[in-house]
């Protein structure tokens, strides 16, 4: 064990810091929209080899050799500077690794670059009204007709569908095959005739996710990734990609630091709430979870760096539940600190963004939003099944076989 960085990595960190002095942008560029500024900066960061390191240069990445420590340094320094790094959009984070593993050369050339720049937005068409946790039961149909797929059915909880130019989705293309073997992974232009997007209003009041209806939608036959009927394996492969499993504690730390500031600014009995023994206990208790996440992250990326990921499989499996629960603890404490201000409705501009806001209404928004991760991307109850069965070897649930 040695928590000091080697000279090579210290030098690397220095160079990243120097690079990050270029954020925020100055001069004429400073007046552009935030999105435009981020795009400009991200392009520079790709050229500097700091962003999209695992993506080949011919597709718009920076193609750097894998180095878990450098990756960590980049995450730390970009976080510290508040600078735009790898996009965490569905396209950049989920589609691109899938295409790199299973896509044809033509698909990679066509889709990866605009997904990385954000010029083309992607949404994920997985869940259906009858297929949530039991995703492989999905029924949305894809029928091959000549050189086109004809799509019929419905997707739901499709985040960002209203802004997306493209969808990657799972469709049942082999109706006679067994459940998991009848699915294909298709790429769907959202402007194709027959697609209708209907927004769903969220508990918090905003409109982020949608229903998407398909009525005789025709897309080219070549818009399939991987082999017919193997879409399930294609979609799973990127989920279990080891690098993606390493937890990211920065959001939690940021929220916790905000919480401490909130405790300083709110009053209890005429004194700053942070002087209240009960609040101090709560804060220190939550920090125990935050520090756990930070040190577990160190342990996990060391395992990645050593090529010993198998030694950290259990904590990696637990990252999602752990970060969801910890964030909820932070939000519950903030809600306590708000007192009667907890009744305030979120402001319009706070609903449209995941960026943190630490006004009272901003905290109310975050408090409500913190329910989302317990459901999206594999509900906590399903995660607990996975931890119990794959992490601890407990017998699988009895399944009714059709």
């Amino acid at each position: 064990m040695n928590l000091e960085y080697a000279l090579e990595h210290e030098t690397f960190r220095d160079s990243v810091r120097i690079f990050l002095e270029g954020w925020p942008l100055e001069g004429a560029d400073a007046d552009r929209s935030l999105e435009a500024r981020e795009t400009i900066f991200r392009k520079r960061a790709i050229e500097a080899g700091l962003v999209y390191r695992s993506v080949p240069t011919r597709y718009g990445g920076s193609e750097q050799p894998y180095d878990a420590i450098k990756d960590q340094i980049i995450r730390e320094e970009f976080y510290r500077a508040g600078a735009p790094g790898d996009l965490t959009s569905q396209g950049a984070a989920l589609l691109v690794p899938t295409l790199l593993e299973f896509g044809t050369e033509a698909q990679r050339e066509r889709y990866i670059r605009p997904a990385l720049t954000g010029d083309e937005n992607w949404c994920q068409g997985y869940s259906e009204p009858g297929s949530g946790s039991d995703l492989a039961s999905l029924q949305c149909q894809g029928r091959l007709d000549g050189d086109e797929w004809v799509l019929n059915g419905q997707k739901i909880w499709t985040s960002g569908a209203q802004r997306a130019q493209m969808m990657f989705g799972l469709f049942r293309t082999e109706p006679d095959a067994k459940k998991h073997a009848g699915i294909s992974y298709l790429l769907v232009p959202m402007d194709a005739p027959g697609i209708e997007v209907r927004p769903l209003r969220e508990l918090s009041g905003g409109y982020e996710f949608n229903e998407v209806f398909f009525t005789d939608v025709r897309i080219p036959a070549e818009n399939i990734v991987g082999v017919r009927g193997q879409g399930w394996q294609v979609s799973r492969a990127t989920l279990v990609h080891e690098r993606n499993l390493i937890g990211n504690p920065f959001m939690m730390r940021e929220a916790f630091d905000d919480l401490v500031e909130l405790a300083r600014s709110r009053k209890r009995g005429g004194r700053p709430a942070i002087e209240d023994p009960g609040i101090r206990q709560q804060l220190a208790k939550i920090e125990g979870y935050v520090r756990t996440s930070e040190t577990s992250n160190l342990l996990q990326f060391t395992a990645a760096n050593r090529g010993e990921m198998h030694k950290a499989m259990r904590p990696m499996m637990m990252n999602k539940v752990f970060s969801t629960d910890t964030t909820q603890r932070i939000m519950k404490c903030a809600f306590d600190l708000l007192g009667g201000d907890g009744v305030l409705a979120p402001l319009e501009e706070e609903l449209g963004t995941w960026r943190r806001s630490t006004t009272p209404t901003g905290w109310v928004t975050q408090y409500m939003f913190s329910m989302g991760p317990a459901i999206a991307g594999g509900a906590t109850n399903i995660q607990l099944n996975i931890i119990g069965e794959r992490g601890y070897g407990l017998p699988r649930d009895l399944l009714k076989t059709s």
């Binding site: 520090r291 607990l384 099944n385």
Partner: protein, 359 residues
């Protein structure tokens, strides 16, 4: 940057685990536990022969010269195996003398401890809540000390006792000397028996001139207790998994029911990711002094409390059997009770975290 164990450290843990399984299997552990004394002199002798008694003593004094992380790695396995040996008090005594003893004191005291010829323990706690150096009230009058210390582990066996004094100083005392009264107290954790020790003008050698502070000693104690609790709670989860795979109700193993499966996944998720928390705190003791106090207190508060909740769930997961003396869950349940309550409760350590953060 490498936050992982070396091959030597993994081997050290395997060696201790193998020793415990061979020399003190559960049947033997039960005998010692039921006898109420929880100590086997032959076990300690054999344990000390592995070089563990002086793990962190400098090599010039016959020790292995290792770090506090190594000591904590041993503590984890002792928690996992509930090995009834006076390791905790003895190791802390070695550390205290190494930190605060003069060159002459270290060279006269440490070799016998490092070789295991003498057993030592520490008398730090006072009353039910006094644990930190600033809480200590035992007074020194020249080379005589007076006052009362509680929860002195393995005091009846100890040849020497390291005593925390008012003002954070430490004194080295012969446990058999006049003016030292050792009153055994019946504790829940029979793997670590303890006593209340009253010093009435007992002859003592005051440690001085060392570079360290007694704060470092109590920080180390907090980390060792956290590591022990982590090991003990890991053992309980292993027992939970094994039981829920073999116990059947309604024609299936109970581990197939989500009520059981999710409970195990939950307590696992509370515990497993905390491994890095005590690793980090142990590493900080030697390498990141400015972070050491806070890291130690967070580890002690968080892990001992998580482990306690694992222990309570483990009793429940074993049903009626879990509530019996016969079921081995009770051994680790009580080991964790001790780890949680000794030398600062979670509340006390959290308040210390708050103070150190300037909240």
């Amino acid at each position: 940057m490498d936050f992982g164990l070396s091959e030597e450290q993994e081997l050290l843990q395997e060696t201790i685990r193998g020793f415990a399984q061979n020399e003190c299997p559960t049947t033997r552990l039960r005998e010692l536990f039921d006898a109420g004394f929880g100590y086997d002199p032959a076990l300690w002798t054999a344990f000390a022969e592995m070089g563990v008694a002086g793990l962190i003593a400098a090599e010039e004094f016959g020790g292995a010269g290792l770090e506090l992380l190594d000591l904590a790695l041993v503590a984890e396995i002792l928690g996992e195996t509930a090995l009834p040996v006076p390791f905790l008090g003895h190791s802390l005594a070695v550390l205290g003398v190494s930190l605060l003893g003069s060159e002459a004191q270290r060279s006269s005291i440490l070799p016998a401890l490092a070789g295991g010829e003498q057993i030592a323990t520490v008398a730090l706690q006072e009353g039910d809540l006094g644990w930190a150096p600033r809480d200590w009230t035992v007074k020194a009058d020249g080379d005589r000390i007076s006052g009362v210390k509680t929860i002195v582990t393995h005091a009846k066996l100890a040849d020497r006792i390291l005593v925390g004094l008012q003002g954070g100083r430490l004194a080295w005392v012969d446990a058999k000397a006049d003016g030292v009264e050792i009153e055994t107290v019946d504790g829940v954790d029979r793997t670590r028996p303890f006593a209340t020790v009253t010093f009435s003008g007992a002859p003592a050698e005051i440690l001085h001139a060392g570079a360290g502070s007694s704060e470092q000693l109590t920080n180390a104690a907090a980390v060792l207790l956290a590591a022990d609790a982590f090991g003990a709670a890991s053992k309980l989860i292993d027992l939970d998994v094994a039981y829920s795979q073999s116990r059947e109700q309604f024609g299936q193993p109970i581990g197939q029911f989500q009520a059981i499966k999710h409970t195990i996944a939950r307590i696992g998720t509370e515990l497993e990711p905390t491994r890095g928390l005590w690793w980090y705190a142990a590493y900080a003791l030697d390498h990141l002094p400015e972070q050491a106090s806070r890291a130690a207190s967070i580890a002690k508060a968080h892990i001992s409390e998580r482990a306690m909740s694992v222990a309570r769930e483990s009793v429940e997961l074993h049903g009626g059997y879990g509530f019996t003396w016969e079921c081995e869950v009770q051994i680790w349940f009580k080991r964790i009770m001790f780890d949680r309550c000794f030398l600062g409760t979670p509340d006390q350590h959290r308040e210390r975290c708050a103070e150190l953060a300037g909240w």
